[in-house]
């Protein structure tokens, strides 16, 4: 019994102690329940978000670029469906065999195969490798025929940039291509929306308007596992296409410019003289921007790069030329405005002019005899303008020229490659060359040679501002939201006003002191084209509907030696590089003018023989398309 007593006493101890632990157990369980409650009820939202963040991953797809259309709504930079070929390595049974098959089917190079193998090593097995970015239709069909044998190969349809008019707009639009690292970092919008395989604007408007054109990414949400493999597609969020941008250009005219300059190096610009709309802007030769979309081949690139006519240079905006005789209307206007000459002022041309022992030649060796302003302009007499420039002085001439847009960028905000050219004055020479101005330099500036340099677009704008009666215009290439109609712009201008978009008010943009002087210059230009002995008389159109006024120019590329002057070689006998540039500026129709143009043919010989005939062919088309263009305009009338 003692033992049993001890057993009972022991049992009491055990029970009592059990009770103490039992209480402790309840407290601990309560603690666990509290923890569960705090995680699952209180912080449920937080953990649910974290769980979704874990399992849901977003894939951005390349955004669809906005279209660029011409004034008539024709797409000039659009999007095209392209067929691509992807390989998903984890689905491939025998990778090397597959590559061999594809190599034969698509004629892939060894280098390409090497690159695919490298990509395969870098990427996760479920990430697709792009074998070909742009399959031709026949390749696509071939692949689809053998698809049963090509496990792990996926033909994919995607969207890519396309330029339907090929080389017509390259110098305006530029092109898109795959960006390099720096280009991605430079632009925040691109950085945010970048997806491998996406292309961005590399040049021209495509680059300048990148942030408008780019569009937003479509987003695909996938459920992924802990290793990042996609398990389910959850939803697809559509992206928005980039903005549609309407340009002021006319594809028909632009194409015609291309045709007219075929095989030549040069540039044509056409501008609305009231609204400043650029109708055409062609730099020749051009190149096909579609070649750059999927990476240009080395051979094609070398062909473009080594072309002696320099297709990569945008001659309209960054080609710098001596304006030659095309500057003469400005010289005449400046002299008239400054009361240096009047219409009766005459100079006797003997074919040359002597100044401090230096001889300045007129293009006509025999001379023009006594010439007035009108005749001097008509026959482009150099001696007359030497004399006028001498009387006027370079600083007063510079003043007028800069008013009319020489020495300043025309479309600077759109094209960073645009050059501003140069119109010299005494101060410029002192500051930049450290030497005093010499009177002889004034003389050659008066015939558009020497330091003076201008872009074809500047000459076009200069002509437009003479044509519209001497009012300042702001050229533009993009149709803006609140433009002025042709009629409104013209009416405003006739009242000496210009509509300013920023301030939404009319401003005085008169470039002249006396309107009569503009008229004199206009008449002189008319005679140069439409009267006998005019330098571009042979390129005239008699029909008053198309009749235009213009001024030829022949810019020397190289000083003519005495021997060469005596030889008086034919164009073909001179080496290409030494031939003169041919220039022509014009506006028309002469009654109620609407458009101005400038034409430059590099090393084309004389302006009257090479450049002016191009204008004749072009003007008919430009005027014919005017009615159509007017119909396209849908403007609010603004009461002035």
């Amino acid at each position: 019994m003692i033992k049993s007593n001890s057993g009972i006493r022991k049992a009491d101890v055990i029970n009592r102690r059990m009770f103490i632990i039992g209480a402790a157990k309840i407290v601990v369980f309560a603690g666990i329940v509290a923890r569960l409650f705090s995680l699952q009820i209180n912080e449920n939202k937080k953990y649910l978000t974290l769980s979704d963040k874990n399992r849901i991953r977003e894939w951005k797809l390349p955004p669809t670029r906005g279209n660029i259309v011409d004034y008539f709504g024709n797409v000039i930079a659009g999007n095209l469906k392209v067929y691509q070929l992807h390989i998903i390595p984890e689905q491939v049974e025998n990778f090397n065999y597959l590559l061999l098959r594809l190599k034969n089917l698509l004629e892939l190079s060894d280098k390409k195969i090497k690159r695919i193998n490298k990509l395969k090593a870098e990427l996760k097995p479920w990430d697709s490798i792009i074998v070909s970015e742009n399959l031709s239709w026949s390749q696509f069909v071939k692949i689809n025929n053998y698809l049963y044998d090509l496990v792990g190969v996926k033909p994919v349809m995607t969207i890519s940039r396309n330029y339907p008019f090929n080389e017509t707009y390259t110098h305006v639009l530029g092109y898109v291509s795959q960006p390099n690292e720096q280009e991605i970092l430079e632009n925040e919008v691109v950085q945010e929306r970048f997806v491998p395989g996406m292309k961005i604007g590399k040049l021209g408007l495509e680059k300048r308007l990148e942030n408008h054109l780019i569009g937003t990414n479509a987003i695909q949400r996938y459920e992924v596992n802990a290793y990042g493999k996609r398990i389910n597609q959850l939803e697809h969020q559509k992206g928005e296409q980039g903005l549609k941008i309407r340009l002021t250009v006319d594809t028909e005219i632009q194409k015609a410019c291309g045709e007219l300059l075929k095989g030549k190096a040069g540039s044509i610009s056409v501008m609305d003289i009231y609204t400043g709309d650029i109708i055409a802007m062609y730099s020749s030769p051009s190149y096909n921007p579609n070649l750059f979309l999927f990476g240009i081949s080395q051979d094609e690139w070398q062909l473009i790069r080594n072309n002696p006519l320099k297709p990569l240079v945008n001659k309209t905006l960054s080609g710098l030329y001596s304006p030659g005789s095309t500057i003469k209307p400005i010289v005449a206007l400046s002299a008239l405005e400054n009361n240096v000459i009047d219409t009766k002022f005459k100079v006797k041309c003997t074919g040359k002019m002597e100044l401090y022992g230096q001889t300045f030649h007129c293009w006509k060796e025999k001379g023009h005899g006594w010439v007035s302003l009108k005749n001097a302009m008509k026959q482009s007499c150099d001696t007359y303008f030497y004399e006028v420039a001498r009387l006027l002085g370079v600083d007063r001439l510079n003043n007028t020229a800069e008013k009319f847009g020489l020495g300043k960028k025309v479309l600077g905000e759109y094209f960073n490659i645009e050059k501003k050219g140069l119109f010299p004055n005494t101060k410029w020479k002192k500051n930049n060359l450290g030497k005093g101005w010499v009177l002889g330099e004034t003389l050659i500036t008066g015939i558009g040679q020497g330091y003076i340099q201008s872009t074809p677009l500047q000459l076009c704008m200069m002509t437009a501002q003479i044509a519209n009666g001497g009012y300042s215009i702001k050229p533009k290439i993009i149709v803006d939201n609140n433009p002025l109609s042709f009629e409104d712009a013209k009416q405003a201008m006739e009242k000496g006003l210009l509509y300013d978009k920023e301030t939404k008010s009319f401003k005085d943009k008169k470039l002249f002191k006396d309107k009569k002087n503009i008229k004199i210059v206009q008449e002189a230009m008319f005679s140069s084209t439409n009267e006998r002995f005019g330098t571009s008389y042979r390129s005239r159109i008699d029909d008053p509907r198309y009749q235009f006024a213009g001024k030829t120019g022949t810019a020397q590329v190289k000083r003519i030696s005495k021997r060469e002057r005596e030889l008086d070689l034919e164009l073909e006998q001179i080496p290409y590089k030494d031939r003169d540039h041919a220039l022509y500026v014009a506006y028309g129709p002469y009654i109620n003018p609407r458009y101005a143009l400038s034409i430059i043919v590099e090393h084309g010989g004389s302006g009257s023989k090479t450049a002016a005939p191009i204008a004749k062919k072009l003007f008919k088309l430009i005027i014919d398309r005017h009615e159509l263009r007017n119909k396209q305009s849908n403007f609010e009338r603004i009461t002035i």
Binding site: S6, K10, I14, E43, L50, S51
Partner: protein, 374 residues
């Protein structure tokens, strides 16, 4: 005395069946069924390797529980020391010839399945100490020698298990052993003294820990320290449980486990998956089920006549409680990660084997609750 003798006599098989604790059996069966469904979910909603194996193990070990139960509690009392020594021998064998896996040597290959002797020790130590305190006179409980003997019974297996190394299991074995000392009547002040000593020597102990164990403790203190490395398990487990919310994501819809974000979801983190799919409600239900089991075991202990059965039941109830608390605290981010399975739920044969044997002995105590042991 006569009555006494009659009670000592063998009871018939029918009576044994009648005397079984059906609430406990049903609860364990229910838990087993739940564990099968959860295992099916870890296999991604298919009957694959883990589900099949778990089912096979359940169908072997669940009947084993009854087999153990039908031996008289006296038998288990008599063989307690021998069983303890056998498991010690197994531990020694494992430390020499055991299978190595991920840096520790814990297992022995028995062809049919791989046995982890340290899991068996969880039950054996309770049996051994229960017998020791059953036989010890109450006057001698707090004598120096008896405490030393009890402490050596605990420390011998601990030394082997900790050297495997397996910190989690050794902590569980130690706490199961210490609880018997507590129940046996060792003075409270001794517990307090040793706890204080433990706290003081803690920095010293930490200096002996393996680098990965130190990392676990650091990670526990701040899981965001290295979210993709050491803290990954705790963070992902908390995300899974927290995102389960009140009702859970639904059966087979636990994205965290389905998409492989959960590590060791079959074993130590099985509760995480359960809680993600069945939410707060399900977790509470599971806790209630475990509570019922623990309560039933305590009840069986308290109606037992022999102190061996009483000590074993109370000790085993506490052990089950500790397993649950350690496992849940770990997956809930309340304790550092120490490998410790959730009884019955976790995949793993040895753990299930020892748990079922434990339940079997408890049931044997129930059947023979009137049995006196000299």
């Amino acid at each position: 005395m006569f009555q006494h003798d009659r009670l000592n006599n063998e009871i018939t098989f029918l009576q044994k069946i009648k005397n079984l604790d059906y609430i406990l059996i049903i609860s364990v069966a229910l838990l087993s069924i739940i564990s099968l469904f959860v295992m099916y979910s870890t296999d991604g909603g298919e009957i694959l390797f883990h589900t099949k194996n778990h089912f096979v193990k359940l169908s072997v070990f669940f009947p084993l529980m009854f087999l153990v139960a039908f031996f008289n509690i006296k038998f288990w009392h008599n063989f307690s020391y021998i069983i303890f020594l056998l498991v010690i021998l197994l531990l020694i064998w494992v430390s020499f010839f055991g299978i190595k896996s991920s840096g520790s040597q814990r297992w022995m290959d028995l062809y049919l399945f791989v046995l982890q002797p340290s899991e068996l020790m969880k039950v054996a130590i309770i049996m051994c100490l229960a017998k020791y305190y059953h036989r010890l006179k109450i006057e001698n409980v707090n004598s120096f020698t008896s405490i030393m003997i009890a402490l050596s019974i605990i420390s011998i297996p601990i030394i082997f298990v900790i050297s495997q190394p397996d910190l989690g299991t050794s902590i569980l074995i130690a706490s199961s052993g210490l609880i018997i000392l507590w129940l046996g009547g060792v003075k409270v002040k001794y517990f307090i003294y040793s706890f204080v000593t433990f706290l003081i020597s803690l920095p010293f102990i930490i200096s002996f820990l393996k680098p990965y164990q130190k990392l676990r403790i650091l990670t526990f203190l701040d899981p965001d320290r290295d979210p993709l490395g050491a803290g990954y398990q705790i963070i992902q487990s908390k995300i899974a449980i927290g995102s389960g919310g009140f009702e859970g994501k639904g059966f087979l819809k636990g994205t965290q486990s389905y998409l492989d974000f959960l590590p060791e979801k079959h074993t130590d983190f099985i509760f995480t998956l359960f809680s993600e799919e069945f939410g707060f409600i399900g977790s509470i239900a599971l806790l209630i089920l475990y509570s019922i089991i623990i309560f039933r075991i305590i009840r069986i202990g308290s109606i037992s006549r022999s102190n061996f059965a009483r000590l074993f039941c109370f000790g085993y109830a506490f052990a089950i409680f500790i397993y649950i608390v350690v496992n849940l605290s770990m997956v809930l981010g309340l304790l550092p990660i120490v490998g410790s399975p959730l009884p019955i739920m976790s995949y793993g044969g040895s753990s299930m084997l020892s748990t079922m044997i434990g339940f079997g002995i408890v049931l044997s105590a129930k059947i023979n609750h009137k049995q006196m042991i000299a």
